[in-house]
Each structure stands twice: as C-alpha cells, then as structure tokens.
C-alpha cells in the first residue's frame, strides 16, 4: 500500500440505494404487459372447467365469426408441436414422463388446463369469443390428494403411470438399518406432517409476447422469465423445432417470480407459433385467476415421520415417508424439488446418524407443482424443525437445548450429512441461536408463558424456534447434472466484463433480476474490484441477444454463482491491464501494483496508468505488448465447486386468544448467516420478504381443491397473501461465517427467510397450546384449527 495512490472508498458492504428504483418509482418500468408492438393481437385462453375429462370434440366455428377475431386454435391445430419438456427427471422417471402439450389434446388433467385460444384485435374481443367455443367433454372421476391417488381404484390420470406414481425415490441408509436404530431408541415419536400447497403470487402475473419476422425467419419472445436463455433453448430445440439461433428471448422488468417464472409454459412457444400463423405479433397476459389455475404451485407434501432420540434429546434416527403431489403433468423441474432439494436436506443443521427418506411423486388432478421460493428446503426445514420440537416435547428437554445438542459443530465442516447432499461448506450454528435467544429475551418469555398458563391471565404465549440450514448457489454441474438424478444439464453462470475505450464498463451477465437488485449489487462488486466509479459500470442482462448463456435466477444463486463469474472476469481484465501497464511503464508485470483502478511500478506510485488510460491504450491498439490482442475484456463461465449453505436461527413469539384461536405474532427475531454481504440494504430486504412469505405459509396461505378438482381458493378473495397489517416488525441481526466456496465469501439470501420462518411461526403457535397436550396442527394455522386443537386436546 502506498499513501500516494488514492484508493476509492470500497462499496462492497455498503447499503447503496438501488439504481433500479428511479424507473420503478416513476412508472417508467417496462414490464411484459407494457410491451406494445405495431399490429399486435391479443390471445385469450379457454380453460378446462373440469378436473379430469376427455375432450370428445371442439367446435370453434361460431367463435371464428365473432367481431375482431383473427383466429381460433385448438390442440388439433398444434398436433405437430412437441409437448413441453421435463428437464429434471430425478428418480428415474423416464418411463412415465407426462408433460403438458401446448394446448390439451384429447384430455385435460386439471381445472384451468388450456384447451383452446382465441387471437383477436383486442383482449376484450378475444374474451368474448371464448364464450362461443363449444367443447364436448366427457367428465372423468378426479383425485386431488397425493396419497389417495396412489390407492387401488383411484382415478388414473396417465396410462403409463400406474397408481399415478411419477417416481419412487429414496436416500440415506437402508430402511432396515434405520428401523433398527428406531427400535433401539430411548424415545420414539411419530407424526404425520403436512406441508400444504401454496400459490406463488408474484404481483405481476405471467405473460408472453411473440413476434415472428417473416423477412428474416426470426422469432422474438418477450416473457416474464427468470431464465430467458433456458426458455429459448427449450422453446426452440424441444418444443417448436426451430433452430435456437432463430429465437431471441427478452425478459423485460419482471414483477417477482419466487420460482413460478423459472418454468416453460404453454404460452411461450404458443405466442411464437401463433405469430407465425396469423402474421401478427401476439400478446398473452394472464389474469390473476388464470395464474391461480395454471401457473405452477409449490409444496404439497404429506409426510409420515418416525423419530428416535435419546432421553436427553439427541436425535438418533429419522425415517421419512413423503407423498409429493406434482399435479396433472410434470412441470419443467418438478421431480427435482422433492428429491434432491428436499430429501437430501432433511438432516437440517443436525448430526443425525440414521436417516432414511422415501419420496413418492404423484400425479393428481391439480395444477402442476414445481419450485416455489425455497423449493424443497422449506419442506425439509419445516419437517426437521417440527421434529426438534416433537423431541423436546417427548423428552422434556428445552427446544433450544435439543437444537444445541444436535448441532453440527464448527470443527465438522465441510460436513457430509450422509444422505447425498454436497458437504455443507461452512457453519457455526450456536452463536446465531444464542444471539436470537438473547434478542428475544427467551428466559423472560418462558417465565411469562408459565405464569399465564398457570393463572389463566391474558393470552397464551407461544415461542417458536427454527434453526435452519439451506442449500444455495446451486450448483456444480457434475453433481446437479447427472442424468436420472440431476437435471441433465449444468448450473454454471457466465459474465463478460468489457472496459470500453472511454473507460466505461459494460458487464453482460446470464444472471438476471426480478426484484433482487442485480444492477446495483453487481456494479458495487465491479466498481470495487476494478477501481472504477460505480456510475461508470453498466450491468446488462435479460436478453439472449447480447448476453452470454446463463441458467437464470433461482436457488439464491445470482451472487454466489453469477457474481463469481463477474468477479473472475474482472480479475482477468485486471490481469491484462497489468500486463499492458507493465509494457507502457517499461517494467516487469511482476513489479506492477494494481489498486483502486491504478497501476504503477512497485515503489514508484507517482507514475500511474489508470484503468481508463489502459482501456484507451488497449482499444487504440498501436502500442501493445507483443502478442496481446486489442481491447480490454474477459468472459468467464463459472461452474461452482460446491453449493453454499446459509443458516441461522429465527424466533417467533405469538399470542393466542384462548376463546377464538385468533393469533398475533408479537415478536419476530431473525439472526441469519448469509456469509459476507455486498449490500446490506438489499439483503435485509430479501430476508424481510422471505420471512413474510414463510410466515404466511404458517398462518394464512393454502390452496384448497375440492374433490372434483375445483380450486376453492381461486382468487385473491379467498387465498390470503399477507397485507401490511398482517405481518409483524422483523428484528434482524447477523453472524458472519464466510463461505469458502466463492471469492466473495457469500452464501445467498433470497430464500433463507422463507425457509426459516414457516417452522418458527408454526412452532410458536403449537408451543402456545402444547401444555394442553397438542403435538401438531396442520398449516395454515387458522384460528379454527388452533381453537379446535385447544378444545380437542
């Protein structure tokens, strides 16, 4: 370090306010429905009103004659178009893959299954014409419950899937070995634990705009997409059979996704096909009620768990049998969620010597189920955190001590849980637990709880803990890609960092935001590492034209994988700049110091070449070292060596009305360890939002189907996502255990809140009434369920 060279203040770690916001707070954002093209027509979708039916015939003649109608299309018209692919065929499901066709052909498997479409001059006209399409259905018996669907005599959805089973998958030790451990345990507990079905509810519904250019033969698709490169690949090569280079996919500003915009949906290839068929650009933007019926949903597990423990609360055995409801067809990565991302995470942050997990994936007459914020890990965390409380209840050991006694210890990392997950990268679980208990005032709360229970005063108090670990930064390709187990492709990320002649920096990345603030975070990183002003860094993303291939944004992987690709590209640029500086300063590259955007010869800080000088020199190119190519840029395709494993402890305190079961969350404390943090403002925001979603699963949300497959909670009038008045203040703190996996030491923060919050809240509510003998209550923990638990106990 030399005092003479001024090093700009580091931005990493600072709460920089987001550069995305000016357009979004002024109404100047550009979302899918804002895309307007000359001559654009609008698509409306006729959907199955039946959970399960054969289509005997469709008459579109009347609809075709309606005002403004450009065309009416059914599955018959798209017979030659391939079904959508299922990319992640975990559990060796090859023999019974049933994915949706672009439009249903011959049968429908859930209410909302797209049967026909109208393309018209306006959406109003397209909707009018839907009423004039006549479909002759033969209604079939339906089944919506995953366990019931596997029983003899249940309605069969697909010929190639007897008992509606998608796959039988298992991990961990042999069942017999775990049975023996259970038999030998001091204490045995078993419970049926449900993880109800959720609807993602990104505030922006999904949509697509397709344009076919007859002159060039090129297609452009605008889509609400978390993964435009993947959507191009799947649309081109798997569905339409169009050469991949002829399709360009653009994700405009995306209004939230939470997983639901990862997958390929019927409308993406369809609007392109329709644009070619009609000669008009075609827009589809689903209504919220359509979103409820057909955009992929999340969770929906029924699990029977058997637990063995010692008298002092050490968990010795865990046997898990889960039915995972995957809906009427397989969505893009559906089988991977209840297997790799759930089954292999059920150990949580605990050393459990004997684990066996069985997962049965099942077709039912419901909307497809796929990744939803957390994707598998919330189900796993909910299970093991309920297990901890069940053990506490059975042994009389304090729930905090059960967790403490079972924690994987700091010296154990990297730690292999023995159930097929990659080794946990780093961790130190007890300080987060201690800090959370201290913040919430655990001992005082226990006293107050005991007092109110004893004297009947006030509302009942419940305290719920959740010490979670999750897997982020997915994933090493050789692990996640393994056919039959993984998803048959990589999960690396890419970035190009280009310093222009003027010294301005353009980063193109395959990673993209839908609310996470990539443009800000990535620019902070580049500004620091390259020593350029923050405002000189432009982050470009979301368009397959002009960005290198990327797998998309999910699994809390943008910074850890996408960010590392940028980090490494900057390092390459810096290295080239050093070589060039050495040439210009007539020194050996080994003697060049590069800091704060300036290069100089060690010991001579007065003669500097700034990164801008070097960019200019690199571009004009007349004075370069022998063999050096002009320009200053580098590309990296980064395949992570491991995943990252954020962790922490959340504590929730609830008060329960003894007479009505009405409950209020009175405290919510979250101590998270997401490794090093680039932008604390953004990370806290991710945690807040995650907690709200996790809390909402515990208290409010749940998709309910009736016996014939109708979605009873089909609008926002019945399905409760939280309002501002329905969530508490979140009290946050952090511990910092850097990840050794990536150079930033980051672990990921996008899903942690959701994963942690559901068990914390549920455990709190159940704890509030546990003195009455209540062991478990199914989510959502509505006042009625809590009241009934109190009164039936």
């Amino acid at each position: 370090m030399s005092a003479a060279v001024e090093v700009p203040e580091k931005l990493v770690g600072k709460p920089i306010k987001r550069r995305e916001d000016p357009r979004l707070i002024t109404g100047a954002g550009n979302f899918l429905d804002d895309v307007r093209l000359p001559g654009m027509a609008h698509m409306a979708v006729l959907r199955s009103p039946y959970g399960h039916a054969n289509i005997r015939g469709i008459d579109t003649s009347r609809a075709k004659a309606m005002p403004g109608v450009v065309g009416v299309f059914t599955g018959e018209d798209l017979k030659d178009v391939n079904p959508l692919p299922c990319a992640w065929q975990a559990g060796k499901v090859q023999n019974n893959v049933n994915t949706p066709r672009v439009l249903a052909l011959g049968k429908v498997t859930h209410v909302g299954d797209p049967v026909a479409v109208v393309v018209a001059d306006s959406r109003y006209q397209a909707e009018d014409a839907l009423a004039a399409i006549e479909v002759d259905y033969e209604e079939l018996p339906a089944v919506v419950d995953a366990e019931l669907a596997t029983r003899d005599g249940a309605p069969q959805l697909h010929e190639n899937a007897p008992h509606n089973v998608v796959m039988q998958w298992s991990c961990g030790k042999e069942a017999a070995e775990v049975d023996a451990a259970l038999a030998a345990a001091d204490v045995r507990v078993s419970e049926r634990i449900r993880n109800q079905r959720l609807i993602a509810n990104a505030m922006e519904p999904r949509g697509s705009v397709g344009r076919y250019d007859a002159g060039t033969g090129e297609y452009t698709l605008w889509a609400t997409s978390q993964a435009p490169h993947v959507h191009r690949l799947l649309t081109a090569a798997f569905v339409l059979g169009v050469p991949e280079q002829k399709i360009r996919v653009i994700a405009p500003d995306v209004g939230g996704g939470f997983g639901s915009k990862i997958f390929l949906y019927f409308d993406m290839p369809l609007v392109l096909w329709l644009s070619k068929a009609t000669g008009r650009p075609v827009k589809f933007f689903e209504d919220r009620s359509e979103n409820y019926l057909h955009t992929a949903q999340g969770r929906d597990h029924i699990t029977d768990v058997e637990i063995g423990a010692t008298k002092d609360g050490k968990i010795t055995a865990l046997k898990v049998k889960t039915y995972a409801n995957l809906g009427g067809y397989l969505s893009t990565v559906a089988p991977g969620i209840p297997t790799t991302l759930y089954g292999r995470m059920v150990a949580g942050c605990y050393k459990i010597p004997n684990i066996h997990v069985d997962v049965t994936g099942v077709y039912t007459n419901t909307a497809m189920v796929d990744a939803y914020r957390g994707a598998g890990r919330p189900e796993a965390a909910y299970l093991v955190e309920r297990v901890c409380d069940l053990v506490a209840d059975a042994t009389g050991v304090d729930p905090a001590d059960v967790r403490r006694r079972n924690f994987i210890q700091p010296g154990d990392f990297p730690y292999d849980t023995g159930i097929g997950m990659l080794p946990y990268d780093s961790g130190n679980y007890e300080p987060a637990l201690d800090r959370a208990l201290e913040m919430v005032g655990y001992q005082d709360l226990l006293k107050e709880q005991a007092k109110r229970r004893a004297d009947g005063s006030g509302k009942l108090i419940g305290i719920g803990l959740s010490s979670y670990v999750e897997v982020c930064g997915i994933a090493p390709s050789k692990w996640i890609g393994l056919p039959g187990e993984g998803w048959g492709a990589g999960l690396w990320e890419s970035a190009n960092v280009r310093v222009h002649l003027t010294g301005k920096v353009v980063v193109t990345t395959g990673s993209l935001p839908h609310g996470q603030g990539h443009e800000t975070t990535f620019a902070q990183l580049v500004a620091d590492e390259l020593g350029v002003p923050y405002d000189d860094v432009q982050i470009e993303h979301s368009d397959t034209l002009g960005t290198p291939f990327g797998f998309g944004t999910y699994g809390s992987r943008s910074l850890t994988v996408g960010g590392t690709a940028i980090y490494k590209s900057v390092a390459k640029v810096r290295e080239k700049a050093k070589q060039l500086a050495a040439h210009l300063l007539e020194a050996s590259p080994d003697d060049i110091v590069f800091e704060g955007g300036k290069a100089y010869v060690k010991g001579s800080p007065d003669a500097v070449k700034t990164i801008q000088d070097l960019a200019l020199a690199a571009h004009v190119g007349y004075d370069l070292p022998e063999g050096m190519e002009p320009t200053l840029e580098a590309t990296t395709f980064y395949d992570p060596p491991n995943c990252t494993f954020p962790f922490g402890t959340h504590v929730c305190v609830v008060e329960v009305d003894r007479e009505t079961g009405q409950l209020e969350v009175v405290r919510y404390v979250a101590v998270d360890d997401v490794g090093n943090v680039v932008n604390p403002l953004i990370v806290d925001g991710q945690l807040h939002g995650g907690i709200a979603q996790g809390l909402a699963q515990a208290l409010y949300e749940g998709a309910v189907y009736n016996e014939i497959g109708e979605l009873v909670t089909g609008t926002l009038n019945e399905y409760a996502i939280p309002k501002a008045s329905m969530v508490p203040v979140y009290e946050l703190d952090r511990t910092v255990t850097p990840s050794p996996v990536n150079p930033m030491g980051a672990k990921g923060a996008g899903e942690a809140g959701t994963i942690a919050a559901t068990p914390a809240v549920a455990n709190a509510v159940i704890d509030a009434v546990s003195h009455l003998g209540v062991k478990n209550i199914d989510m959502p923990l509505t006042p009625e369920r809590v009241w009934r638990a109190m009164h039936n106990a």
């Binding site: 987001r18 916001d21 954002g29 505030m203 995306v254 005032g441 907690i691």
Partner: protein, 183 residues
C-alpha cells in the same frame, strides 16, 4: 350472458390526466386502467389481479385514491386523474417516491406505483401516521417482495419530509420505538 349481436354505442369521455386533457370514444365496458394504459399509453399503472384486491392499479380520481381496475372509464368522465407518471414535478420526486428509494421500499417494483399512490393519499389525510395507521391505510395494496417493513419505513420517511420532522429522523425515531418495544 354474452350479448354481442349488436355492440353497444360507444360513449364519449373527456378527462384530465396528469394535467393534460384527453377525449375519446370508448366502449362502456372499458376499465379506467385499460383506458390509461392502452388509450393513453400510461403503463405505469399496473394490473395485478382481477378481484380488486392488489392495488397495483391505484390512481387518484378527483383527489381520491381509487382502484382503476374497478372504475369504468366512462365513470371518470370529466374527472381529474393523477397517475404515477404525474407524481414527480419538474423531475423532482415527490416525498413518497423519495421515501421508497431511500428506504428500499420496493424490490420488483410491480406493486410500487399503486403503493406510492395509496401512500400519498394516506399522507394527505394524515401527515403524521403511526405505524398501525400506515399498515391499516395500505391494506388495499399487496406487495409480495418486501414483507412491508421497508414500505412502512418509506412512508414514515415521507411523512417526516411532509410534516417537517425530517425523513431520516422520522425513520430513526420509529426504529428506536421498535427497539424499545423489543427490549
């Protein structure tokens, strides 16, 4: 019952939107939100649901915040309408916009225009709202990203700017109250 044999007569509407007067002939069924977005190209007002819950479409009509998906364009005939595009004046953000930027009151930004419009209406009625009043006053607006805490902070910030106690100061005071309740 679709009654589409003869299309109903179009109706003339005239309204002032963000200070500019517009007139058009529209179908009676055209929703105000579609008139703003499709006829006038003011796409900052969003559609997030079809049951009048989410509030992404909130605009001011004659000084009152309304859900423009639940108002017919013809009902707004003769009205003064303000949309998110009309909030900043001469390139200067409104205090609520500043609050949302400063306090990270948005992530994906889809609910944000409606949220800002509702927050402005809330502060017009009550320039010094408590946290409960903010949460209650925003019940007509759903946000799926933020968990609302930073929206509460954003509105608290804006209130501070409007009522003279200062944006950052008001948020700091709120945070102190929260910490006080916690301990």
């Amino acid at each position: 019952m679709a009654n589409t044999v003869t299309a109903p007569a179009k109706v003339a509407v005239q309204m002032t939107v963000n200070g500019t007067e517009y007139s058009a002939e529209v179908e009676p069924r055209l929703l105000l939100v579609h008139f703003l977005r499709d006829n006038l190209g003011l796409t900052g007002t969003h559609v997030g649901c079809d049951t009048s819950q989410c509030g992404a479409c909130v605009v001011d009509v004659n000084g009152a915040s309304v859900k423009s998906c639940t108002v017919l364009a013809v009902q707004a005939d003769g009205a003064e309408v303000t949309t998110i595009e009309g909030v900043a004046k001469d390139g200067e953000y409104d205090p609520v916009q500043r609050g949302f930027w400063e306090m990270h009151g948005l992530q994906c930004g889809y609910c944000t225009p409606g949220m800002i419009m509702s927050a402005r209406a809330l502060l017009r009625r009550n320039p010094n709202p408590s946290e409960d009043e903010i949460r209650h006053g925003l019940e007509g607006n759903l946000c799926r990203c933020t968990g609302y805490q930073n929206i509460v902070r954003a509105v608290t910030y804006a209130a501070g700017e409007i009522n003279g106690t200062g944006g950052a100061e008001s948020v700091a005071a709120w945070e102190q109250r929260v910490a006080g309740q916690a301990s």
